[in-house]
Subunit: 375 residues, 2 copies
């Protein structure tokens, strides 16, 4: 392989540390493909799971990563929306744009070879070049300046690949947040924080972040949370419920008639961790009429306390991001009403990606939220 | 007590058989009350639970029942919508009409003394007379003839007290049934059948009723189900899933492009039993993008298999009926597009109500769906 046909990429070689190595350069394989040259990529918690061997669909030899911004390098003959040199956001969800699922905003279940495939079923974005199938519906044009002439941060654009639409669609839109609501977000990692920053436009009365990591709770307060709770610091098992009930009762005073008392609890609870205990926290704090949105990736079943919840008129939603909101969120960034740049806590060069994995793999110790890995 | 001040009523006297006895006649206690003279009442599965002692909120001495049609006998000074002599449907849900919950279609959580109170927290409808609080928002005018001059069946009107709005709101509306959907209804009792007859207007492709009672499955077919499954007759534990997958695959052929195959399963699963196994049946059969509506009253927790469901983009809803759909359903009866009269399988005189409890308490043996108990 000549260096002209080769590139460097981070390759999963089975459970353990991935390897930064030379591999064949990504090429067009289908007329709807685009090949992008990476500008920046980042690491998702899912990538860490893959490296542990928790995602058996990922075969050894596969390039990792499903988030990136890049420059169009090569274009298949049936691509209509992009040309060489365009700057683009790569969505973590590949969409054919036409199937039953893609036409119902369920692009994560695209049955024409789409869904979450990058760094999963096909080579991913933690590489110098990446092939993007169904490019017309899986890439987004990335402006370099706003309509009023301000530069657009690459850090902000990179957050549109996955965490912003994930938090917004699966956490915020699914839970139908109303003005004056009390919102509890369990888990203040990248996706929990994405829920936080994208929900504020709905003017909830209170947004309570719950996490065991005080650094992440401090970041939550900087990003707009009104309240934070570290459950490890509560003295009783019912402490979380009591704290949330107290905060919601304060919030509800502003939307009830004098003397009217609402049933206790949060209107919305968003699960962003993926373990049984954190899902049960959502069940514990939810008020009648409330909505629980599960964003976390779960490896085991949870107890659903229907003996208490059947009468509460609640809703529960689950899901993988569909990325239909990417352009809406981009517009919020361009108008200055959404700024995800503080999510980036650490920067690396692409050739330092193994070091970035070390840092992100010990996120709590390193106060890491998102890495920005520049090519 | 003179007979002028007395009436007969079915009284809960603690766990065991309720007693048909003379009690003080219902009277106006608040300016918003109406007292109705019963025309007909019926028995709900919940009444059987109360008699077993499963609903501790019901105090000995309380009159049972939350379903009735009647004639207005006496009217409080602040009642504006009803006058003596009006024929009315009594809703199982009492609503003040003005509180936070009542103005958000969560009347079951009315915090001004409403919600499910009849035969629960105050005296109920299995009596010659019943006091209805907040009458303006808790009773509905019951026409005796349709706009085109046909008589309106009392049996049909009685089904509007509880089971029709319960099935429609908590099963059908909550699960957002779309044209061409495959719908599974687990439990072909009165509420499951109410889901069935009220969902047909949404033109699902298939409605599959699941029950262990072949008589109820036969009734389901007469009422419009396209398919029935008796899980006791399946040879393998995965048999239900396989049957539903097969039926849904047939249904999906009419809404996909040639060669396009959808992920397997039902679009909607409605739980109308209230035990863990039947809720898990709903989890087993649901397709990506599907909705599970829990209508059953549960006494214990269930396993929620989030390890499979997190990625499926599903919704789960729970709830007690709010009865906001009562007038819509009445209009469907008046226009002849909904006919719940076949739900009534047994008729009794009010003084025979204890016999009606015997029959309804052994519903399977007696092929009973709903009783019609006439005063």
């Amino acid at each position: 392989m000549s260096s002209f046909d080769a590139m460097y990429a981070l390759v999963y070689e089975g459970p353990g540390k991935p390897v930064w190595k030379q591999v064949p350069k990504a090429t067009i394989q289908h007329p709807k493909d685009v090949v992008i040259k990476t500008v920046a990529t980042t690491i998702c918690g899912t990538d860490l799971h893959i490296c542990k061997g928790d995602v058996p669909a990922v075969q050894p030899g596969n390039i990792l990563g499903h988030e990136a911004i890049g420059i169009v390098e090569d274009v298949g003959s049936e691509v209509t929306k992009f040309k060489k040199g365009d700057k683009v956001i790569v969505s973590c969800i590949t969409s054919c744009g036409h199937c039953y699922y893609c036409t119902r905003n369920l692009q994560s279940h695209c049955n024409q070879g789409g869904g979450w495939i990058l760094g999963h079923k096909i080579n991913g974005t933690q590489a110098e070049y990446t092939r993007i199938p169904h490019a017309d519906y899986s890439l987004y044009h990335a402006p370099t300046v706003t309509p009023d002439g301000r530069p657009v941060s690459d850090k902000a654009l990179l957050m549109l690949s996955d965490i912003l639409p994930t938090g917004y669609e699966i956490g915020v839109l699914a839970s139908n947040i109303q003005v004056g609501d009390t919102v509890v977000i369990v888990g203040a990692g990248p996706v929990g924080l994405a829920c936080l920053v994208t929900c504020l436009a709905y003017n909830p009365a209170r947004v309570i972040m719950v996490d065991q990591d005080d650094q992440r709770l401090a970041a939550s307060l900087r990003l707009g949370a009104t309240d934070v709770i570290n459950p490890q610091k509560l003295s009783t098992p019912s402490g979380l419920r009591e704290e949330v009930y107290k905060i919601a009762a304060e919030a509800n005073q502003s939307r009830t008639q004098p003397g009217e008392v609402l049933e206790p609890g949060a209107d919305v609870a968003i699960e962003c961790v993926g373990i049984p205990r954190t899902f049960e926290m959502c069940e514990e704090v939810i008020a009648p009429g409330g909505r629980i949105a599960n964003v976390g990736v779960h490896g085991s079943k949870v107890d659903l306390h229907l003996q208490e919840l059947w009468i509460k008129n609640i809703g529960i939603t689950t899901g993988l991001v569909n990325a239909y909101s990417t352009e809406d969120l981009l517009n919020r960034i361009l108008t200055g009403t959404l700024d995800p740049t503080p999510f980036v806590t650490h920067e690396f060069k692409l050739c330092e990606i193994c070091q970035a994995y070390e840092v992100f793999g010990n996120a709590a110790h390193n106060c890491a939220i998102k890495t920005f890995i520049q090519a």
